[in-house]
Symmetry: C2
Subunit: 326 residues, 2 copies
């Protein structure tokens, strides 16, 4: 079983509107409500590729109850620790005429130390059954920036490998706790490094090369390896994935720019990397599947979902090359 | 006690955003959640002006439970009949930079005949305690257009006067069931009449005059009186209120254009008219209070709320004139 931690889940509400009046009254032609948050997306993808996932998270108020009920309707096993505050909603408006989406995020509930303690007890109780732990998404207000580092430390001490996908201080602190994989995207890695790593991000990897030594992306990822992570996989959007490990550096590139919505693609990458980790795939295979699953998810309208045909089609076209030893 | 029927209540969620990116990700600086729907606004206003109101409505799913809990937090007495479908949400985005609001409405749950029957039983049980009944807002999907006519007929048969605020076929059918007051706005009256009644709506009442006979607004309101309503009060936005009854026609005009958000102003007018009805105020007084309460509510940021100082200030400046016998 793969334990997927989701400390800040959400009730995702999506309104599909034919042509939005941004200064007036709108009636959606379709309203969808789904359980959301990055961890939930990871768990949905894990289940879709045949892995056994358990969502461990926090839930509060009636919105928390709605998230729990929605997870149940999807058949996703979840253990949610009840908290005092109200679980957040996200609200997405899809403008059919303009082809744009506007996303409105609530910050999430203020989580108390006692509540995190209760969660931690259930997490420790579940660890012996876990083949891996995924720590994914932002931390809700009130939790210390080291919350993921604490959870990662408990897992590695129990011999359970950790995949960490977050940003900022929780990423910096978490990487030092010895996770098997951390997965920043380019913007998150740049924010951590405190410098731009790519001249023209949309142009892909050709822009990343540096004059001498490792290119800036590999160098910044290497800093996270030096800090304690066993491997760093940087998602580069259309440029694919860069894996930096003590054993080598790999680059995986999709066959062509796959159009679609990048929301949720990173979560699919995390799911594939975790599945590859627990099933002992070599890095080439992990990255091939991760790129294909990310691209197939980007092409699907809903985060956490993809079409098997897209996955299979992209998979055959992914190019993986070994760059160098790190 | 005034019985306020709210068959399609809502959970109103409002996001205040500094400057909205309509094609990107937004984080609200404030999120408000309130019970909504026109009937709820009417009940809140009634309570604020000292009347005893009971909300009678339908609620389903966790959103229905959230509405019920939110009514409880406001201290508004409510009896909500549980239904199978999920109560609707409304979502409002207030753009601080542009000063605009976008409203996203969900249609509401599909209400079955058996569910309306259960509601009707509780309505009939409450009628003997009621000094008046307010029927307000749209009907949820699944209910026949004559649902308000049925409820109005039961009330009038029990000697309880009815105030009806709805539109379209439910308004046409409801007016024939003998309500004491129906309150369309100009657009609703025009839709019912099937013709424009005002050349330049924003220009106010000067535009409404016709060559001979009653002006078009009075004539169209008179048709609803002929159909069965005892009185028709047409809300004309900045033009004030026109009351058309068998005993005469009155026009009430606010002292000046009061700036603000018209959402909820109509509900405040309904509350004032109902309070005036049960307390035996003459039409001049009812209209004076209704105009002032509507204007004070328009000036407040939240539907169902107003500042007493605004109410008192506008009240002294309202002009009421008797136009003619109908």
């Amino acid at each position: 079983m793969i334990l997927v931690v989701c400390l800040n889940p959400a009730l995702d509400v999506t309104h599909d509107v034919a042509a939005v009046d941004w200064a007036g009254v709108n009636r959606a032609h379709t309203v969808h409500t789904r359980p959301g948050g990055k961890g939930v997306n990871v768990a949905r993808t894990l289940r879709a590729i045949g892995a056994d996932a358990l969502v461990l998270g926090l839930a509060g108020g009636l919105t928390g109850t709605a998230v729990e009920a929605a997870l149940g309707r999807l058949g996703l096993p979840a253990e949610l620790t009840r908290i005092e505050g109200e679980t957040r909603r996200t609200f997405t408006v899809v403008d059919g005429q303009r082809g744009t989406s506007a996303l409105f995020n609530e910050p999430g509930p203020d989580v108390g130390g006692g509540e995190f303690g209760a969660f931690r007890a259930r997490y420790e109780a579940a660890l012996p059954r876990a083949a891996a732990v995924v720590l994914s998404g932002s931390l809700p207000p009130g939790l210390p920036a080291g919350a993921y580092a604490t959870l990662a430390g408990l897992a590695t001490a129990a011999g359970v490998p950790v995949v960490l996908d977050t940003s900022g201080e929780p990423l910096r602190l978490g990487a030092a706790a010895g996770p098997a994989i951390v997965k920043p995207n380019l913007a998150e890695l740049e924010a951590l490094a405190g410098r731009p790593l790519c001249a023209a991000r949309a142009g892909g990897l050709a822009e990343v090369a540096a004059a001498d030594g490792p290119d800036p992306v590999t160098a910044a990822a290497g800093d996270l390896v030096a800090a304690g992570a066993e491997a760093v996989v940087v998602s580069l959007g259309p440029g694919g994935l860069r894996a930096v490990t003590a054993g080598g550096v790999w680059q995986a590139v999709p066959p062509a720019v796959v159009p679609g919505n990048p929301t949720g693609a990173g979560d699919a990458v995390v799911a594939a990397l975790t599945f590859g980790l627990v099933s002992g795939q070599p890095w080439e295979e992990r990255l091939r599947h991760a790129v294909a699953l990310g691209a197939a998810t980007a092409a699907a309208p809903v985060a956490g979902e993809f079409r098997q045909a897209d996955y299979a089609r992209v998979l055959t076209g992914v190019t993986v090359s070994r760059k160098e030893a790190a």
